[in-house]
Amino acid sequence: MTKYGPVSPIVDVPRVSPVAGVARSLDELRTESSVFDDLHVEARRVLDRNPEPRNLRDVAVALESMGYTTTGARALGFNTVFDLALTVFDLTYLYYVPRTEEVPEEVPTWRRFADDYLAGSWYGVPWIMSIVVLFVGRVALWSSLNATPQVAAMVSLAFFLAAVVAGACSQMLARRGTFYYLQKNYPLVRWVVARFLVYGVATGLLAIAVAYAVYVVPVYGLHLGEIFAEFAVAIFAFLLSAAPLYMLRRFYTLALATSLALVVTLAGAYLFSGDTNDVRHAQLLGLAVGSGAMVVIAASYLALRTDVDSGLGASVTVVKPPALRVVLWHSAPYGVYGLAYFVMILVSPLVVGLAYGRGLGVDQYLYPSTYQGSVAIALLELVVLLGLVHASIERFGRRLMPLLERHTLDRWAQARRALRREWIRSVGLVVVASGVVAWALPPLLLQVLPPSLTAAVRSPGGLLALEVAAYGFAMVPVGMLCSQYLFFLGRPTPALFGAVAGALTSTMATALLVHGGDIALGAWGLLAGTTVYAVITGLGSYRVLAAGEESFYASF
């Protein structure tokens, strides 16, 4: 609330007669019945403002909020407001009514953690299902194992661009949409979703058109360019339409919609499999992917209708929305973060593909199947680790409020120590778990997956790329958790800085490393980028958490 002009300090003060001398105790005050009655009134008023004053300071604050100053306290016979508070505090016990607290059902810690882990793992459901279908059916939402290298290059470029732009839009939508959704401000949820989708679609189409006109068609020709545009639009539509489902936490709907989309894609791919023309086959497959995206769009629309519109009720609710440009401006850091995050983890294969093309004598991006296949297998470890990040941040959210309520203002040092311990415990757990997964999962996957899917790893440089990329992706959950801490406390700047620095490092380091022609070294660039991301967000989040309740109050 913006305050304008000073507030009169005496408006709330009861007009009582001054008392000669200074009172020392309630017994003395009983001789002044009017003052004694007034103190009882004030005790009830204090409780009205703060039903559970825990200490003298709480009472003093309440009295000050009622308009008492030193002068007002002296009018009642006390030297200071604190002296007045001391007396009123004694009287509050006469009127204190213990509240009936609803004791939450005790859930074992490990079970709650497991629930959170599983809930967090749902975030990766579309990717897990797509990968499984890709392995089984050789075609999925964004790729086909039977694609020619030229078509694979187009799909890969399309996926990169679509993921980067959709990642930015999704982050902005999630931040602002969740803000209103948790307030049950459904009109504004709908308002935000509609605006962000319109602006996201406009931005995405413009970005795709620029890439199509400036790079893809001049370098690859019209036919491949059309495939790029088709896949970019379809993948972008799929990713962006899933954003409201993530925001609403409609994971079952997301899984169902993804399943249907995969069925449509698979059916389309096999219906068109008789076409021997690679370009035409890819175009038809793009249409199938687009049809799958339509399924997700429909599911997202229905979910919004169900969750948001039902909250509006039958009556027409009129709200005054905030200025859009202000909302966009304040969401922009989260959008840049989403963009930089996807660039950081996806740019390495892009740079390697450019080096691969140069090595073959063509000055263009060429799908580096050995590198890409190895890195894709390493990426699977995120499926295991995403749930851990989610569980850690949920645990933090549950512990923060009780922690700050339990630690009163005069015990801030303990609160800060507790927050630092929480950071060290959670981040340490994710670091250790990520390290173990990065160390153990690649050899395990190589044994479990069929040889046809691990052929890339057996190619020269493939194993090195897999092992290094595994540790590169292991740093991502660390950065994600630290970013979530920062977002939780409304401090996106360090996370934004970390993601941008990580993206730049990943790009430049990969380019430098593969300049000599050994494209397997590109994985070190990925590791460098994600390490920078994890370190910067880690330091930033530790600093913010170590500031304790100041950060928490500042977040409001």
Binding site: P6, S8, P18, A209, Q364
Partner: protein, 423 residues
């Protein structure tokens, strides 16, 4: 906060609350203008500014600033721009495109190599690089189109760096691609020899071998005794355009009206026109596909390989053909319409066929040759003058249950492939 306020005497009647907001009162800071309507603000920074420094539009919901206008029109402008970019690019796509050639195999595996550039959409392109003249096959249909800028030659559509020209003239000459063949022909009979050819716009270094592959020249349909049709494969100095010299090595199969054929090798020297031909070797020949490799330094050394066998070799010549060179895929005809067909051309600048990016220990089979991979590469020995091998390459990769088999493909000497194990 109340604590920062000056002491106020609560008995002072002037301190009574007043409904008149604007009237000066003790305990209040005077000098402020009357506050406008209070509006909840999201920005805490507003609280930190003195009131008189807050001339901002409090009712910012309705203020039509430029920023707000820009935000409002952005989606429409972005969509219009996107549509315009798509339409303009699609309608005007042109330019040489570096192409990647791929040979598909089982399990999604692929062999990749750089291929010749192509000009998309039928647009003409006169630019070419020496790499564009390697392993050229004629798989994309097209025909000669508009003249190249600053030249009388016609661009060969879809084949960057190739042009067509000749004494037959554009009205009488044909250069078109269909059915995997480059057809070069003369449409109408002429009393004298008239020719038409496809050649390159950029030169090939003399260290390279010129490999031509042609279908069997057809018999001529004319009955005139002087009627002759010639399939010509020539290697000519690339300086013709600058100094007018018409100096070239020629390998030609002549087809006569009586069905007789001969194959000749020679060289010609001339300036601007009427070059004098020196025949080095001529033998009767029979119909059939022709695979010719020409290796020369343009001066004293020339060797010609036909269908894999050495046909002519000499190192004591005085040809005076200044390198670098251009290949000519050509037809000559007299008193007959005549069209020949080429199915491939390559400027071969290296020996062997190499498949790289393979796991060590991979066993590779191509035709009758089997090699084992060392250092990530399988090397099939093949001299630069050897004729290309057409067949199915198979790779037995360690760890794979079954070998990876690639589709039938023509492997020219000097080819370099990168093994991609699946996308």
């Amino acid at each position: 906060m109340p604590r920062s306020e000056p002491p106020v005497d609560i008995e002072d009647p002037r301190n009574e609350p007043s409904p008149m907001v604007d009237s000066p009162m003790p305990g209040r800071i005077d000098g402020h203008p009357a506050p406008p309507e209070l509006i909840d603000s999201w920005d805490p920074a507003d609280d930190e500014l003195p009131g008189d420094q807050r001339p901002a539009q409090w009712d910012w919901h309705g203020y039509p600033s430029w920023g707000r206008k820009a935000v409002a029109v952005f989606p429409i402008v972005a969509l219009v721009l996107a549509v315009a970019l798509f339409a303009n690019t699609t309608l005007s796509a042109q330019g040489a495109i570096a192409e990647v050639r791929s040979v598909t195999g089982t399990g999604g595996a692929t062999l990749l190599s750089a291929g010749p550039s192509q000009a998309p959409g039928g647009a003409a392109s006169g630019t070419g690089q020496p790499a564009d003249y390697r392993d050229l096959t004629f798989q994309v249909p097209g025909s000669t189109v508009k003249p190249l800028q600053g030249s009388t030659s016609l661009a060969l559509s879809h084949y960057a760096g190739w042009q067509a020209n000749g004494s037959a003239g554009s009205a009488n000459g044909i250069a078109s691609v269909s059915g995997g063949l480059l057809h070069v022909g003369v449409r109408q009979p002429t009393p004298d020899f008239k020719g038409w050819f496809a050649t390159t716009t950029s030169a090939t270094p003399r260290a390279c071998v010129f490999q031509f592959s042609a279908a069997s020249p057809p018999p001529i349909s004319a009955t005139h005794t002087l009627a002759v049709g010639e399939l010509v494969m020539a290697v000519q100095t690339s300086r013709t355009v600058t100094n007018g010299d018409i100096n070239y090595v020629v390998v030609a199969e002549n087809v006569f009206a009586d069905g007789q054929r001969n194959l000749t090798v020679g060289y010609s020297l001339g300036h601007l026109s009427h070059a004098v031909e020196h025949v080095l070797k001529g033998v009767p020949w029979s119909a059939g596909p022709l695979q010719v490799a020409v290796d020369t330094n343009g001066n004293n050394r020339l060797s010609v390989w036909v269908n894999g066998a050495l046909f002519f070799a000499a190192t004591d010549l005085h040809m005076g053909i200044a390198p670098p060179f251009d290949p000519y895929l050509e037809v000559q005809a007299r008193r007959t319409a005549y069209t020949v067909a080429f199915d491939g051309y390559s400027s071969v600048c290296q020996n062997n066929v190499v498949v790289s990016d393979l796991p060590d220990g991979t066993v590779a089979h191509l035709g009758a040759v089997t090699v084992t991979t060392h250092g990530g590469s399988a090397v099939f020995p093949m001299a630069a003058v050897a004729q290309p091998v057409t067949g199915e390459l198979s790779l037995s990769v360690p760890g794979n249950a079954s070998p990876v088999r690639f589709s039938r493909h023509r492997y020219w000497p000097g080819d370099r492939y990168s093994y991609a194990p699946g996308t």
